[in-house]
Every structure is written in C-alpha cells, then in structure tokens.
Symmetry: C2
Subunit: 146 residues, 2 copies
DNA sequence: GGTTGTTAGTTACAAAAACGACTATTACAT
DNA sequence: ATGTAATAGTCGTTTTTGTAACTAACAACC
C-alpha cells in the first residue's frame, strides 16, 4: 500500500544513516559499557585524548563536533575514574589541558584494539572500493550544517 | 601526536556513521519538531503508517527495527493528537491495528515533501554513483546484528 | 581603567530515551 | 483441561540528553 511510489523511508538518507549507525554501534557499545561502564561520549573523549594526546575540552569539541556540555560531563566522569588528569593553563586560566593517565592509556589501548577488530569485521563483508567511497561520503555528510 | 598511525577515530565506521547520521538529521528534526512538536520515533511511526498503510505496532517494529516500548509511546502521543486511530483486532484481542486519520495524513504528506526535498538537497552534493552504493552499503550495515 | 563582548567550562532543570517488569491474551504440549 | 511458554502491548523508574542560564577569565575598545 505504497501511497507514493516516489518516496520510501528506506531511501531517506537520514533514516538509513541512523539505522546503520545504531546497528553498527551496538556491539562496540556493549564492550565499553560492560567492560568499563563508559558512555558514548566518554569513549569519544578518551579516544581523542588517546589518539591526539594532550588537548583541551574545546579542541575535542571542534574535532568531534560535540557540544561542550557533553564534553564537560564526559571529562568529569573520566576524571573521577582517574582515566585522565586536568591541568589549568597558566597563561589563560579559563583553559584546562586534559591528558590520559597511565590507567586511561591502558583502557584506551584495550578499546582501540576492540574497535580496530570490530571495524575490520564490519568492512570485511563489503566491497573494498565501496568502503573507500563510503568513508569519503560520510565525511562529507558529517559536515552538513543543518 | 598520533600514537598509532594504524588507527584513527575518523576511520572508525560506527563513529563516522554516527557523525553523518546526526548531522544529516538535524535539519529535518527541526522541521517535525518545530512544526508539529513531534519526536524522532513519532515521525518514524507516522511515516510507516503513511507509506504502508494500516498496520500493527509489532509490524512497525519489525520494519523500522524499533523496540516496542518506543513504538507504544510514539503511538500514544500520535493518538492523543488525533493523527491516528487504534482498532482492536477481533480475532486476536492482543493486537491493535493502527491507521492514520485524515489529519495524520495531512501531516504525513507535508513532512514527506520536506523529507523528499531535504533528501534531494543532501544527495545533490554527492556523486550519483556514490549515492547508489551508499544506500546499498547502509542497508547492509543496518542489518548487522551486534 | 571601566564598559562591553567573547570564550572556556560548569551547573540546573526539563525533556527524552533505555530498561525491565508487568498485564492480558493466545498457543502449545502433555 | 491445565500448566507452560510465547506474544502484543503498556507502565514505572532510572539514565542520558538537551537547553539555557551561569561563573570566571580574558580581550578590546574608547
């Protein structure tokens, strides 16, 4: 009972993207949640610090396109667990530099290897050329400013 | 300070998919929210009923991969606004058939045209061949059962 | 040097989502 | 026919988000 053959939710990009994002996040989510009690925003912050090293909340926000309140709360929880330390900038005392502790590094390294394996498993079922284009298209779409 | 050149969040598929999904959903979200006070799960249910016609909550759940509690609450709110009517199945009294009212149809038709335009705008910046492959890859990924 | 504007980050409150337990009805097996 | 399991859908409670207002520090300008 397709009321309009010109339109189907299944072709609507935002819908498709959400379905794919949710489904493909599930398994990884279980790992960081069950193993470390972390939330999505927390592993994101952890990964940014693990990959790029010491940086400020603001910079993470720019790179990850995350709102500052999300980062603020994620940083709080990561700091409570001693996965990172905060250090005030001496010349501009509004700014805080964030850095993983050795404990945080360990968690990051562990999750990174899970992520890598999982990513490879996801990509495995797909055509190699498709994956290259997929990444590029996704990066373009991620920049869309509604 | 890339600690491991083999891994970057920016290449991690679940991350990329989430970024693209969030960014590309924003503008459409604003429309159904501002114009009709609807939530994400509500427009999904509305669209399924608009496109496929009368169906049960269960069937929507299967098609949209939505949990039944999400559907239940979305249906409640849509029923309050008189966008749909519920009708008990006479032979199996657990089941409820859902159907859009004329008012619901109007909302659906309006939002459908917004969605169509928005979708076209999104696709416009992309290579046509890429879009075809993108849809196919996304459908594959959406089926991944973590 | 005081006023105005910006920026980094936090907090409080309201809105929404997640999760599990629950009811009611039907199916199935012995 | 009766106990057990399965299914459709709802409800209550707890987590998470989203929004906007807030503090504190700096900048810029006259």
């Amino acid at each position: 009972m397709h009321d309009d053959p010109d339109f189907d939710v299944q072709d609507f990009l935002p819908y498709l993207l959400n379905q794919a994002a949710e489904a493909s996040s599930l398994e990884f989510q279980r790992v960081y949640k069950d193993r470390y009690g972390m939330l999505r925003n927390e592993w994101r912050v952890l990964f940014h610090l693990g990959i790029y090293g010491r940086m400020t909340a603001r910079d993470i926000g720019v790179r990850a396109q995350m709102h500052k309140t999300k980062i603020s709360r994620a940083v709080q929880r990561l700091a409570e667990r001693r996965y990172l330390v905060r250090e005030r900038d001496e010349t501009d005392r509004r700014v805080e530099h964030l850095e993983l502790t050795p404990a945080g590094q360990k968690v990051y390294v562990d999750l990174r290897s899970v992520a890598r394996d999982y990513n490879e498993a996801l990509v495995e079922g797909l055509d190699g050329e498709d994956v290259v284009r997929l990444r590029s298209v996704l990066r373009t779409l991620a920049k869309v400013r509604g």
